[in-house]
Point group: C2
Chain length 203, copies 2
């Protein structure tokens, strides 16, 4: 996480307070939107004074930047896990249910949805998301390339780029689908995803 | 559109004023977010008094509901076009570039992103989106079923449902992908989409 922990000497305590603010902010952003939630609403939810919160975050923008960092860490963890598999491409297909369940949970997707809406109008947040994406792609692309090479599949740059962007779009769209169709058939969806993933990764 | 045009006798003029408000609201929501944009900001952008706007829309919520209706009309138009094609499944694959370009345009996706974020916390807006989705699926599902039957492909309900939900997720995710990667390679992306669409529709 990039945002500095200001005026705090005990790093563990500072980290725990930061997390307390982030949890409260997630609740408030989900309830009132990024622009609707005030620092005073967040401080009330966190059970801390607004002045105390400013010790950790200069602004609401700094809070949403911390969420971008957390999301980037989550993606890095997932990519590291994938790199450790014997057969990463097959693992992605086999583990589709886990990623689908994660993306279908409204508690999981309310905050990203708010972050995306804000990034669409705030260049600083968009820039942070883009930098995180560049880092993630620098891990993901060579992994896909290596595994496709091992299977004797085409690995030219343009093809890899298109397949990966399509695959990522597929997962980004899932929460929006779930928002429109909350009672969708999870098992059928998993089968649909596997058909698309197999075509993108293994052909 | 469901929202009634209040106290207006000339329907054409009322419609034109409503559109004027919607255009201004789209600009304000994109700039300040749904919660950040006030009715007075919208009235200033529209060049109308706030009192005048209330003749057409009771609240900001009524404005966003009108956007949900417009989006539903757009989807219905697209489905009608698709129904008129000789080979709707192949048309969806051939016409991927048009839908991709539409979804990659930030001017197009800023407003939907705001609507989705708001729908994730506002049950009334979510309900309107869901009703529109049910109507769209009532047209889309039989079309896909008939065309797959014609080609001798499997058409059981669970399979169709999963394929369609996956396909819709693919397009919903595209703006979010573009937000993270504004300079993505469009031609490669089109090829990636075609691979996924062919697998979902023609296998």
């Amino acid at each position: 996480m990039n945002a500095p922990a200001k005026r705090r000497t005990d790093p563990e305590r500072a980290q725990s307070r930061r997390n307390q603010v982030l949890q409260a902010a997630a609740v408030c952003f989900a309830r009132s939107g990024f622009h609707g939630a005030s620092m005073s609403e967040i401080s009330k939810e966190a059970g801390m004074s607004a002045g105390h919160i400013y010790n950790y975050f200069d602004s609401k923008e700094a809070i949403i930047m911390a969420f971008v960092d957390l999301e980037a860490e989550h993606v890095t963890t997932q990519l590291r896990e994938l790199e450790s598999k014997d057969d990463p491409l097959q693992s992605m297909i086999d583990e589709a249910p886990r990623h689908i369940d994660e993306n279908l949970d409204p508690h999981f997707f309310q905050l990203p949805m708010e972050m995306f809406a804000e990034a669409a109008r705030n260049p600083k947040i968009a820039e942070a998301m883009r930098a995180a994406d560049v880092s993630a792609m620098e891990r993901f692309r060579p992994l896909i390339k290596r595994e496709r090479e091992r299977r004797g599949l085409a690995v030219d740059d343009a093809l890899l780029e298109g397949r990966i962007d399509t695959l990522v779009s597929l997962f980004h769209g899932l929460p929006i689908r779930a928002l429109h169709r909350p009672h969708l058939n999870r098992d059928s969806l998993i089968e649909g995803y596997r058909v698309a993933l197999k075509a993108l990764l293994l052909t």
